[in-house]
Symmetry: C2
Subunit: 428 residues, 2 copies
Amino acid sequence: MTDERPASPGLTCYRCGRTATFPARKRCECGEPLWFVTDDAATEFAWPESGTGVWRYADLLPVGPHAAERPDAYGRAGVGAAAGATPLVRAPTLDADAGCRLWLKDESENPTGSFKDRGSAVGAAWAAEAGREWIGTVSYGNMAISVAANAAGIGGPGGGDGPDALVLVPDDISGERLAAIAQYDPEVLRVAGDYGRLYYETLDADAPVEFVNSDTPLRVAGQKTTALEICEAFASASEALDLAGRAPDAIVLPVSSGGHASATWKALRELRTAGLLADEDLPQLYFVQAAACDPIAEAYREGDDEVSSTEQTGSTVAYSIANSDPPSGTRALTAARQTGGAVLSVPDDEILEAKADLARNAGFCVEPASATTLAGVRRLSEAGELAESDEVVAVLTGTGFRELDAAGAKPEAVELADLPGRLGDLVG
Amino acid sequence: MTDERPASPGLTCYRCGRTATFPARKRCECGEPLWFVTDDAATEFAWPESGTGVWRYADLLPVGPHAAERPDAYGRAGVGAAAGATPLVRAPTLDADAGCRLWLKDESENPTGSFKDRGSAVGAAWAAEAGREWIGTVSYGNMAISVAANAAGIGGPGGGDGPDALVLVPDDISGERLAAIAQYDPEVLRVAGDYGRLYYETLDADAPVEFVNSDTPLRVAGQKTTALEICEAFASASEALDLAGRAPDAIVLPVSSGGHASATWKALRELRTAGLLADEDLPQLYFVQAAACDPIAEAYREGDDEVSSTEQTGSTVAYSIANSDPPSGTRALTAARQTGGAVLSVPDDEILEAKADLARNAGFCVEPASATTLAGVRRLSEAGELAESDEVVAVLTGTGFRELDAAGAKPEAVELADLPGRLGDLVG
């Protein structure tokens, strides 16, 4: 391996095999999204001996110089160096409820509280290396916060300037959401018109801003590291850990654009190429949507080859994954089918129950979108798709601390003088 | 080392050397707080070869069985296993501003968004092992959230039940704060009367609830791991990392009760006992308060031997560290003096400026209390206490995402059709 990546790394289409170069293209002529070619790097890949966060897997990322011995590279310092390396923990208190041996990958323990930091860190580092003045995103949620933070904090050789962030938000964005983004001082534009069209418009090759949208090649590259960490944790687990095998039986993710789902699949493919994951150990990929907006699950149910855009049939508490026209929907569908998994959807009442159970029975505060995983696991176990002995990883994609419901009931009041007696009653 | 800790681990007073046993006592006859005796364990301690989070340092914690090979122990699964292991990153984009080589330890990347999870994880695991029915805390902020989460998620052999959480909050707690705590379904009591008195009342040996308050021995034990991680990261850093030595020159922490400050000092003492930190490499400890409530800084300025309780002279944005009667204040003062550091305070305008700069120039969203560190570093550099070449670690103790100001100005609006032109203007 060389110390420098080519200036125009190669892209390929998972479906038709056509190739292209980055950053000129992001999507294939066939209509499907492109991702980076990593065959050579994956062939030589071994579990790293050093490095933390997303840069632990620098050999598989399209950002050079990629050697762990180059700590002065963009992204190796600052907030981008704090992305990833999230905990993967067993959750035995939920096993009976989940119907399997449940593991939780807590992506809320990223700098801005969601898995988006992985892709943003890689995107910001690439843009800084390439000398791009701007990186952008079309989002008013976790991704917007993450891109703004990673552009603000990109550290490089000598602390040099990295790119600025441009965030395109809907015209009617709320003050709360805007505050979370604006604190990092990005350029924010409120776009009047069809916000849904922006995804495609911003991928125009002539755009002066490098948009790191939900399933673009740079973001998918960064988001691969969720699954790389999961698989490395299993592979390197102590003999004493009661693991059934050297990889989880299933990985369960919320799915929206299909970017994280695609990235997870790509990570598994690379580990197979590296010889680190045998075909028979390949985890099944299960993706979960909210029932009110489930175009990928619908295509799975119907046996379709492609995901079609749908009308959202109502609001959902899991609004952050309500994507009626997912740009990597078909790729996610393919990933689920080819790994022996599935795409399913769950209604809001089950999402809210799962969210509450993750807090009161496991101690994790997640956004509703993340709770679709536990709701989905329950359905899969009930349907016999998952077994009690299966090692199942649910990826909790984002924090719930940004949207707490303050309307709860007031708890019991007690006078200070009466407290000792009241404490005695507790153990009664 | 044995596989089981004694049922009543030993405590000692840092000041007078008296001993006692846990959990019967938490404070010394001399009035000062007690901490666990760890001399034997520290003598034998070496940097661990495995383990993550706070349990990586299990050999120095008062929770047994403490061998890393016992993954079925309480705390080794669930939310307690996700505490700690937070990123320590260089922040070159802030160096010029900070006047030193700045590192950030991002404690917001804990399960509930603050460093409190370290002590809560250890406290919940101890209580579960000891068969206690209840653990409690006196807090309506980060500590309350953390204790409730860790009690909810305590995992043990076979997923057995751990203790329940009791949270004592002020009578007039806001709905927002209550929601963050109540989601984990703890027992919450609103206490009418002098909330400040509760700290001492709940340490009564006869209390049927094990209170893991801000500076109790269990919490200090868990909170040692912040500094253990910092020192291990420096000690194990790649040769290529541009480190001046094998330990940071200074560690800068917000200080409130003095619990975290004391824990940091204890960690350094243990590493010295272990032979992993030479006397000449001992980091200086700097603790920062908000000027409106700074009893420890006042004692430092006045050259007093003890910290006296003060009147708070007004409100402060760093309300979470506004403790006018810090139970470990004198211990923190001693730690700063004995390590050659200092205790200082900073006014609200400097705290708010530091908070904004951490977001817009480094990409970290912290609560105001955490921003006192950068504000303090600036003052120390200006005063010549810190030098440009010093490696200085600022501990960002908690997330700012729970208290964003939604009152900002609306950004520029643009029609979708005009967007391409507007993007062109950006790079123009």
